[in-house]
Symmetry: C2
Subunit: 218 residues, 2 copies
Protein backbone atom coordinates (compact mmCIF):
# COMPACT_ATOMS: atom_id res chain seq x y z
CA UNK A 1 0.00 0.00 0.00
CA UNK A 2 1.85 3.06 -1.29
CA UNK A 3 0.53 6.41 -0.05
CA UNK A 4 1.84 9.67 -1.55
CA UNK A 5 1.00 12.82 0.42
CA UNK A 6 1.78 16.23 -1.07
CA UNK A 7 3.32 18.93 1.13
CA UNK A 8 4.03 22.50 0.02
CA UNK A 9 4.93 25.90 1.51
CA UNK A 10 2.50 27.23 4.13
CA UNK A 11 0.13 24.27 4.08
CA UNK A 12 -2.00 23.49 7.16
CA UNK A 13 -0.33 20.60 8.99
CA UNK A 14 -3.42 19.41 10.88
CA UNK A 15 -5.00 18.71 7.45
CA UNK A 16 -2.17 16.24 6.87
CA UNK A 17 -1.67 14.69 10.28
CA UNK A 18 -5.21 13.35 10.73
CA UNK A 19 -4.96 10.90 7.83
CA UNK A 20 -1.16 10.53 8.15
CA UNK A 21 -1.35 9.37 11.77
CA UNK A 22 -4.24 6.99 11.04
CA UNK A 23 -2.94 5.58 7.75
CA UNK A 24 0.53 5.01 9.27
CA UNK A 25 -1.05 2.13 11.18
CA UNK A 26 -2.69 0.52 8.13
CA UNK A 27 -1.24 -2.96 7.57
CA UNK A 28 1.47 -2.77 4.90
CA UNK A 29 1.26 1.01 4.48
CA UNK A 30 4.30 2.86 3.12
CA UNK A 31 3.86 6.63 3.23
CA UNK A 32 5.92 9.27 1.43
CA UNK A 33 5.75 13.05 1.87
CA UNK A 34 6.21 14.53 -1.58
CA UNK A 35 7.35 18.08 -2.31
CA UNK A 36 8.73 20.00 -5.25
CA UNK A 37 12.19 20.08 -3.65
CA UNK A 38 13.91 18.19 -0.82
CA UNK A 39 14.17 21.19 1.45
CA UNK A 40 12.28 21.96 4.68
CA UNK A 41 8.67 22.94 4.07
CA UNK A 42 7.23 25.78 6.15
CA UNK A 43 3.64 25.39 7.31
CA UNK A 44 1.08 27.92 8.55
CA UNK A 45 2.36 27.09 12.08
CA UNK A 46 5.85 27.16 13.65
CA UNK A 47 6.47 23.61 12.39
CA UNK A 48 8.66 22.85 9.39
CA UNK A 49 8.61 19.38 7.81
CA UNK A 50 11.13 17.44 5.76
CA UNK A 51 9.84 15.87 2.53
CA UNK A 52 10.85 12.28 1.82
CA UNK A 53 10.47 12.45 -1.97
CA UNK A 54 10.26 14.90 -4.86
CA UNK A 55 7.92 14.84 -7.86
CA UNK A 56 10.71 13.00 -9.71
CA UNK A 57 11.35 10.31 -7.07
CA UNK A 58 7.80 9.80 -5.74
CA UNK A 59 6.01 6.52 -6.37
CA UNK A 60 4.79 6.10 -9.98
CA UNK A 61 1.74 4.04 -8.95
CA UNK A 62 0.46 5.28 -5.59
CA UNK A 63 -2.53 3.53 -4.08
CA UNK A 64 -3.51 6.85 -2.51
CA UNK A 65 -2.64 10.30 -3.80
CA UNK A 66 -3.41 13.00 -1.21
CA UNK A 67 -3.28 16.79 -0.90
CA UNK A 68 -3.76 18.86 2.29
CA UNK A 69 -5.06 22.44 2.28
CA UNK A 70 -3.76 25.72 3.61
CA UNK A 71 -4.97 29.15 4.60
CA UNK A 72 -2.97 30.91 1.91
CA UNK A 73 -0.36 28.44 0.59
CA UNK A 74 -2.99 26.64 -1.45
CA UNK A 75 -3.35 29.40 -4.00
CA UNK A 76 0.30 29.55 -5.02
CA UNK A 77 0.63 25.78 -5.33
CA UNK A 78 -2.59 25.58 -7.35
CA UNK A 79 -0.89 27.71 -10.01
CA UNK A 80 2.40 25.82 -10.00
CA UNK A 81 2.60 23.86 -13.25
CA UNK A 82 5.15 21.31 -11.97
CA UNK A 83 2.80 20.46 -9.11
CA UNK A 84 -0.24 20.15 -11.36
CA UNK A 85 1.79 17.99 -13.76
CA UNK A 86 2.89 15.72 -10.90
CA UNK A 87 -0.67 15.28 -9.67
CA UNK A 88 -2.02 14.66 -13.17
CA UNK A 89 0.68 12.15 -13.95
CA UNK A 90 0.21 10.10 -10.76
CA UNK A 91 -3.58 10.41 -10.88
CA UNK A 92 -3.51 8.26 -14.04
CA UNK A 93 -2.36 5.29 -11.98
CA UNK A 94 -3.61 6.10 -8.47
CA UNK A 95 -6.30 3.90 -6.95
CA UNK A 96 -7.58 6.86 -4.90
CA UNK A 97 -7.32 10.62 -5.49
CA UNK A 98 -7.93 12.33 -2.16
CA UNK A 99 -7.76 15.59 -0.23
CA UNK A 100 -8.62 17.32 3.02
CA UNK A 101 -9.76 20.94 3.38
CA UNK A 102 -8.64 23.23 0.54
CA UNK A 103 -6.46 20.41 -0.77
CA UNK A 104 -9.56 19.81 -2.92
CA UNK A 105 -8.85 23.13 -4.67
CA UNK A 106 -5.42 21.82 -5.68
CA UNK A 107 -6.94 18.61 -7.06
CA UNK A 108 -9.58 20.79 -8.73
CA UNK A 109 -6.92 23.04 -10.28
CA UNK A 110 -5.28 19.90 -11.66
CA UNK A 111 -8.60 19.11 -13.37
CA UNK A 112 -9.14 16.00 -11.30
CA UNK A 113 -12.55 16.79 -9.78
CA UNK A 114 -14.61 17.73 -12.87
CA UNK A 115 -17.97 16.00 -12.57
CA UNK A 116 -17.19 14.50 -9.16
CA UNK A 117 -18.95 15.07 -5.85
CA UNK A 118 -16.40 16.50 -3.40
CA UNK A 119 -16.08 18.60 -0.26
CA UNK A 120 -13.65 21.14 1.17
CA UNK A 121 -13.44 23.69 4.00
CA UNK A 122 -16.86 25.35 4.50
CA UNK A 123 -15.41 28.75 3.47
CA UNK A 124 -14.12 27.39 0.13
CA UNK A 125 -17.20 25.64 -1.27
CA UNK A 126 -17.79 28.24 -4.00
CA UNK A 127 -14.18 28.00 -5.18
CA UNK A 128 -14.51 24.22 -5.41
CA UNK A 129 -17.50 24.61 -7.74
CA UNK A 130 -15.39 26.77 -10.07
CA UNK A 131 -13.31 23.66 -10.80
CA UNK A 132 -16.34 21.77 -12.05
CA UNK A 133 -16.88 19.70 -8.90
CA UNK A 134 -20.25 19.19 -7.29
CA UNK A 135 -19.51 20.77 -3.89
CA UNK A 136 -21.23 18.81 -1.13
CA UNK A 137 -21.71 19.95 2.49
CA UNK A 138 -20.68 16.69 4.18
CA UNK A 139 -17.87 15.76 6.61
CA UNK A 140 -16.31 13.56 3.93
CA UNK A 141 -17.38 12.51 0.45
CA UNK A 142 -16.49 9.43 -1.61
CA UNK A 143 -17.45 9.44 -5.30
CA UNK A 144 -15.97 6.57 -7.32
CA UNK A 145 -12.20 6.83 -6.63
CA UNK A 146 -12.27 10.43 -5.44
CA UNK A 147 -12.42 10.96 -1.66
CA UNK A 148 -12.36 14.31 0.11
CA UNK A 149 -12.66 15.57 3.66
CA UNK A 150 -14.00 18.92 4.89
CA UNK A 151 -11.97 21.53 6.74
CA UNK A 152 -8.85 20.70 8.79
CA UNK A 153 -10.13 18.37 11.56
CA UNK A 154 -12.41 16.57 9.08
CA UNK A 155 -9.23 14.80 8.03
CA UNK A 156 -9.64 12.50 11.03
CA UNK A 157 -13.16 11.39 10.06
CA UNK A 158 -12.06 11.18 6.41
CA UNK A 159 -8.93 9.21 7.35
CA UNK A 160 -10.97 6.66 9.29
CA UNK A 161 -13.60 6.37 6.54
CA UNK A 162 -10.84 5.71 4.00
CA UNK A 163 -9.23 3.17 6.34
CA UNK A 164 -12.54 1.30 6.36
CA UNK A 165 -12.73 1.41 2.53
CA UNK A 166 -9.22 0.04 2.20
CA UNK A 167 -8.77 -2.32 5.15
CA UNK A 168 -12.30 -2.99 6.36
CA UNK A 169 -14.45 -1.72 9.19
CA UNK A 170 -12.80 -3.73 11.97
CA UNK A 171 -9.37 -2.28 11.20
CA UNK A 172 -10.85 1.23 11.07
CA UNK A 173 -12.49 0.66 14.46
CA UNK A 174 -9.11 -0.37 15.88
CA UNK A 175 -7.44 2.73 14.44
CA UNK A 176 -10.19 4.95 15.89
CA UNK A 177 -9.61 3.41 19.33
CA UNK A 178 -5.83 3.73 19.03
CA UNK A 179 -6.10 7.48 18.41
CA UNK A 180 -8.88 7.75 21.04
CA UNK A 181 -11.23 9.49 18.61
CA UNK A 182 -14.11 9.96 20.98
CA UNK A 183 -14.64 13.68 20.41
CA UNK A 184 -16.11 16.03 23.01
CA UNK A 185 -15.89 19.55 21.54
CA UNK A 186 -16.10 22.16 24.30
CA UNK A 187 -18.48 24.27 22.19
CA UNK A 188 -20.98 23.72 19.40
CA UNK A 189 -19.24 25.98 16.92
CA UNK A 190 -17.56 23.72 14.37
CA UNK A 191 -19.58 24.62 11.28
CA UNK A 192 -21.58 27.64 10.05
CA UNK A 193 -24.72 25.46 10.32
CA UNK A 194 -24.33 25.47 14.12
CA UNK A 195 -22.08 28.44 15.00
CA UNK A 196 -23.34 31.87 16.04
CA UNK A 197 -23.64 34.26 13.05
CA UNK A 198 -21.21 36.74 14.65
CA UNK A 199 -18.64 33.93 15.04
CA UNK A 200 -18.97 33.08 11.34
CA UNK A 201 -18.53 36.74 10.38
CA UNK A 202 -15.43 37.08 12.57
CA UNK A 203 -13.80 33.95 11.11
CA UNK A 204 -14.51 35.02 7.54
CA UNK A 205 -12.93 38.40 8.27
CA UNK A 206 -9.88 36.62 9.65
CA UNK A 207 -9.58 34.43 6.55
CA UNK A 208 -9.78 37.50 4.31
CA UNK A 209 -6.94 39.13 6.27
CA UNK A 210 -4.87 35.93 6.04
CA UNK A 211 -5.22 35.50 2.27
CA UNK A 212 -1.65 36.78 1.80
CA UNK A 213 1.25 35.31 3.79
CA UNK A 214 2.64 37.40 6.63
CA UNK A 215 5.83 39.23 5.66
CA UNK A 216 7.81 37.44 8.36
CA UNK A 217 7.10 33.97 6.98
CA UNK A 218 9.84 32.24 5.03
Amino acid sequence: MQISMLIYPHFTPLDLFGPLQIWSQLPGASIELVAKELKPIATDTAARLLPTHTYETASRHPDILFAPGGTYGTYAISEDQATLDYLNDRAQNASWITSVCTGALIMGAAGLLKGYRATTHWAAMDQLKEYGAEAVNERWVIDRNRASGGGVTAGIDFGLAMAAEIAGEEVARMLQLAVEYNPAPPFNSGHPDVAKPETVDAVLAGFAAASAPPATND
Copy 2:
Protein backbone atom coordinates in the same frame (compact mmCIF):
# COMPACT_ATOMS: atom_id res chain seq x y z
CA MET B 1 1.94 34.70 24.81
CA GLN B 2 4.97 32.41 24.65
CA ILE B 3 4.20 28.73 24.03
CA SER B 4 6.97 26.10 24.32
CA MET B 5 6.13 22.70 22.85
CA LEU B 6 8.52 19.78 23.41
CA ILE B 7 9.32 17.45 20.51
CA TYR B 8 11.49 14.32 20.77
CA PRO B 9 12.36 11.21 18.74
CA HIS B 10 9.40 9.04 17.73
CA PHE B 11 6.71 11.21 19.29
CA THR B 12 3.14 11.08 17.91
CA PRO B 13 2.68 14.17 15.72
CA LEU B 14 -1.12 14.26 15.89
CA ASP B 15 -0.75 14.78 19.66
CA LEU B 16 1.12 17.99 18.84
CA PHE B 17 -0.74 19.34 15.84
CA GLY B 18 -4.17 19.57 17.46
CA PRO B 19 -3.12 22.23 19.98
CA LEU B 20 -0.36 23.63 17.71
CA GLN B 21 -2.78 24.38 14.86
CA ILE B 22 -5.35 25.90 17.21
CA TRP B 23 -2.95 27.89 19.40
CA SER B 24 -1.18 29.29 16.33
CA GLN B 25 -4.27 31.43 15.80
CA LEU B 26 -4.39 32.77 19.36
CA PRO B 27 -3.91 36.54 19.36
CA GLY B 28 -0.26 37.35 20.13
CA ALA B 29 0.85 33.71 20.29
CA SER B 30 4.51 32.91 19.66
CA ILE B 31 5.17 29.19 19.48
CA GLU B 32 8.50 27.38 19.66
CA LEU B 33 9.20 23.69 19.07
CA VAL B 34 11.83 22.70 21.60
CA ALA B 35 14.13 19.68 21.30
CA LYS B 36 17.36 18.48 22.87
CA GLU B 37 19.26 19.24 19.67
CA LEU B 38 18.58 21.31 16.54
CA LYS B 39 18.43 18.32 14.23
CA PRO B 40 15.42 16.77 12.48
CA ILE B 41 13.14 14.88 14.84
CA ALA B 42 11.67 11.58 13.63
CA THR B 43 8.07 10.84 14.60
CA ASP B 44 6.09 7.60 14.71
CA THR B 45 5.00 8.46 11.14
CA ALA B 46 6.96 9.24 7.95
CA ALA B 47 7.12 12.90 8.96
CA ARG B 48 10.27 14.50 10.38
CA LEU B 49 10.08 17.94 12.01
CA LEU B 50 12.64 20.67 12.56
CA PRO B 51 12.90 22.09 16.09
CA THR B 52 13.08 25.87 16.45
CA HIS B 53 14.87 25.92 19.82
CA THR B 54 16.93 23.75 22.16
CA TYR B 55 16.63 23.41 25.94
CA GLU B 56 19.32 26.12 26.15
CA THR B 57 17.67 28.64 23.83
CA ALA B 58 13.99 28.02 24.66
CA SER B 59 11.97 30.70 26.42
CA ARG B 60 12.80 31.08 30.13
CA HIS B 61 9.26 32.09 31.08
CA PRO B 62 6.78 30.27 28.82
CA ASP B 63 3.10 30.97 29.29
CA ILE B 64 2.42 27.38 28.22
CA LEU B 65 4.78 24.43 28.56
CA PHE B 66 3.54 21.42 26.57
CA ALA B 67 4.55 17.79 25.93
CA PRO B 68 3.03 15.42 23.34
CA GLY B 69 3.02 11.63 23.73
CA GLY B 70 4.27 8.76 21.63
CA THR B 71 3.73 5.07 21.14
CA TYR B 72 7.26 4.16 22.20
CA GLY B 73 9.36 7.37 22.12
CA THR B 74 7.84 8.52 25.40
CA TYR B 75 9.68 5.99 27.51
CA ALA B 76 13.18 6.96 26.40
CA ILE B 77 12.55 10.69 26.80
CA SER B 78 11.01 10.14 30.26
CA GLU B 79 14.38 8.80 31.40
CA ASP B 80 16.48 11.54 29.79
CA GLN B 81 17.83 13.74 32.58
CA ALA B 82 18.46 16.80 30.36
CA THR B 83 14.82 16.70 29.28
CA LEU B 84 13.50 16.32 32.82
CA ASP B 85 15.80 19.17 33.93
CA TYR B 86 14.50 21.41 31.12
CA LEU B 87 10.88 20.72 32.04
CA ASN B 88 11.49 21.24 35.74
CA ASP B 89 13.37 24.47 35.16
CA ARG B 90 10.70 26.02 32.92
CA ALA B 91 7.83 24.66 35.02
CA GLN B 92 8.99 27.02 37.79
CA ASN B 93 7.96 30.01 35.70
CA ALA B 94 5.31 28.57 33.36
CA SER B 95 1.74 29.79 33.70
CA TRP B 96 0.47 26.43 32.41
CA ILE B 97 2.03 22.95 32.46
CA THR B 98 0.26 20.86 29.85
CA SER B 99 0.28 17.62 27.86
CA VAL B 100 -1.65 15.47 25.44
CA CYS B 101 -1.75 11.67 25.46
CA THR B 102 1.32 10.03 27.05
CA GLY B 103 2.95 13.44 27.21
CA ALA B 104 1.47 13.32 30.73
CA LEU B 105 3.90 10.50 31.55
CA ILE B 106 6.81 12.80 30.67
CA MET B 107 5.43 15.55 32.91
CA GLY B 108 4.84 12.86 35.53
CA ALA B 109 8.42 11.60 35.23
CA ALA B 110 9.58 15.18 35.81
CA GLY B 111 7.62 15.14 39.08
CA LEU B 112 5.21 17.80 37.87
CA LEU B 113 1.90 15.95 38.35
CA LYS B 114 2.16 14.73 41.97
CA GLY B 115 -1.16 15.41 43.66
CA TYR B 116 -2.78 16.78 40.50
CA ARG B 117 -5.78 15.46 38.60
CA ALA B 118 -4.66 14.62 35.07
CA THR B 119 -5.49 12.42 32.09
CA THR B 120 -3.59 10.56 29.37
CA HIS B 121 -4.22 7.94 26.67
CA TRP B 122 -6.76 5.36 27.91
CA ALA B 123 -4.10 2.62 27.73
CA ALA B 124 -1.66 4.55 29.95
CA MET B 125 -3.86 5.46 32.93
CA ASP B 126 -2.16 3.03 35.31
CA GLN B 127 1.28 4.37 34.40
CA LEU B 128 0.10 7.91 35.10
CA LYS B 129 -0.94 6.90 38.63
CA GLU B 130 2.59 5.64 39.26
CA TYR B 131 3.77 9.25 39.04
CA GLY B 132 1.47 10.29 41.86
CA ALA B 133 -1.20 11.87 39.69
CA GLU B 134 -4.90 11.28 40.18
CA ALA B 135 -5.68 9.70 36.79
CA VAL B 136 -9.08 10.84 35.54
CA ASN B 137 -11.08 9.31 32.67
CA GLU B 138 -12.07 12.58 30.96
CA ARG B 139 -11.40 14.06 27.50
CA TRP B 140 -9.35 16.83 29.09
CA VAL B 141 -8.63 17.83 32.69
CA ILE B 142 -7.68 21.19 34.19
CA ASP B 143 -6.48 21.23 37.82
CA ARG B 144 -5.02 24.55 38.95
CA ASN B 145 -2.30 25.30 36.34
CA ARG B 146 -2.00 21.74 35.07
CA ALA B 147 -3.97 20.87 31.94
CA SER B 148 -3.94 17.53 30.14
CA GLY B 149 -5.72 15.96 27.19
CA GLY B 150 -6.50 12.29 26.62
CA GLY B 151 -5.15 10.19 23.75
CA VAL B 152 -3.98 11.69 20.44
CA THR B 153 -7.13 13.33 18.98
CA ALA B 154 -8.13 14.61 22.43
CA GLY B 155 -5.53 17.29 21.75
CA ILE B 156 -8.11 19.12 19.65
CA ASP B 157 -10.71 19.28 22.43
CA PHE B 158 -7.94 20.08 24.94
CA GLY B 159 -6.51 22.78 22.65
CA LEU B 160 -9.88 24.48 22.32
CA ALA B 161 -10.59 24.25 26.06
CA MET B 162 -7.22 25.87 26.77
CA ALA B 163 -7.90 28.55 24.16
CA ALA B 164 -11.07 29.40 26.07
CA GLU B 165 -9.16 29.57 29.37
CA ILE B 166 -6.57 31.91 27.88
CA ALA B 167 -8.44 34.04 25.37
CA GLY B 168 -12.08 33.56 26.30
CA GLU B 169 -14.95 31.51 24.96
CA GLU B 170 -15.70 33.66 21.91
CA VAL B 171 -12.14 33.31 20.60
CA ALA B 172 -12.28 29.55 21.22
CA ARG B 173 -15.55 29.36 19.27
CA MET B 174 -13.88 31.16 16.36
CA LEU B 175 -10.93 28.79 16.42
CA GLN B 176 -13.27 25.78 16.50
CA LEU B 177 -15.08 27.12 13.43
CA ALA B 178 -11.82 27.92 11.63
CA VAL B 179 -10.64 24.30 11.97
CA GLU B 180 -14.18 23.03 11.23
CA TYR B 181 -14.26 20.92 14.37
CA ASN B 182 -17.71 19.46 13.87
CA PRO B 183 -16.78 15.80 14.35
CA ALA B 184 -18.67 12.93 12.75
CA PRO B 185 -16.73 9.76 13.57
CA PRO B 186 -17.63 6.96 11.13
CA PHE B 187 -17.82 4.45 14.00
CA ASN B 188 -18.45 4.51 17.73
CA SER B 189 -15.11 3.04 18.71
CA GLY B 190 -13.04 5.89 20.14
CA HIS B 191 -12.76 4.72 23.75
CA PRO B 192 -12.85 1.37 25.59
CA ASP B 193 -16.11 2.55 27.23
CA VAL B 194 -17.82 2.33 23.82
CA ALA B 195 -15.67 0.05 21.62
CA LYS B 196 -16.26 -3.66 21.13
CA PRO B 197 -14.22 -5.77 23.61
CA GLU B 198 -12.46 -7.60 20.75
CA THR B 199 -11.40 -4.25 19.29
CA VAL B 200 -9.93 -3.22 22.66
CA ASP B 201 -8.03 -6.50 22.91
CA ALA B 202 -6.64 -6.12 19.38
CA VAL B 203 -5.43 -2.57 20.00
CA LEU B 204 -3.79 -3.49 23.31
CA ALA B 205 -1.98 -6.36 21.57
CA GLY B 206 -0.77 -3.90 18.93
CA PHE B 207 0.51 -1.45 21.56
CA ALA B 208 2.40 -4.27 23.29
CA ALA B 209 4.06 -5.19 19.98
CA ALA B 210 4.94 -1.53 19.33
CA SER B 211 6.54 -0.90 22.72
CA ALA B 212 9.99 -1.08 21.09
CA PRO B 213 10.84 0.97 17.99
CA PRO B 214 10.98 -0.90 14.67
CA ALA B 215 14.55 -1.69 13.65
CA THR B 216 14.24 0.36 10.46
CA ASN B 217 13.44 3.61 12.27
CA ASP B 218 16.17 6.19 12.66
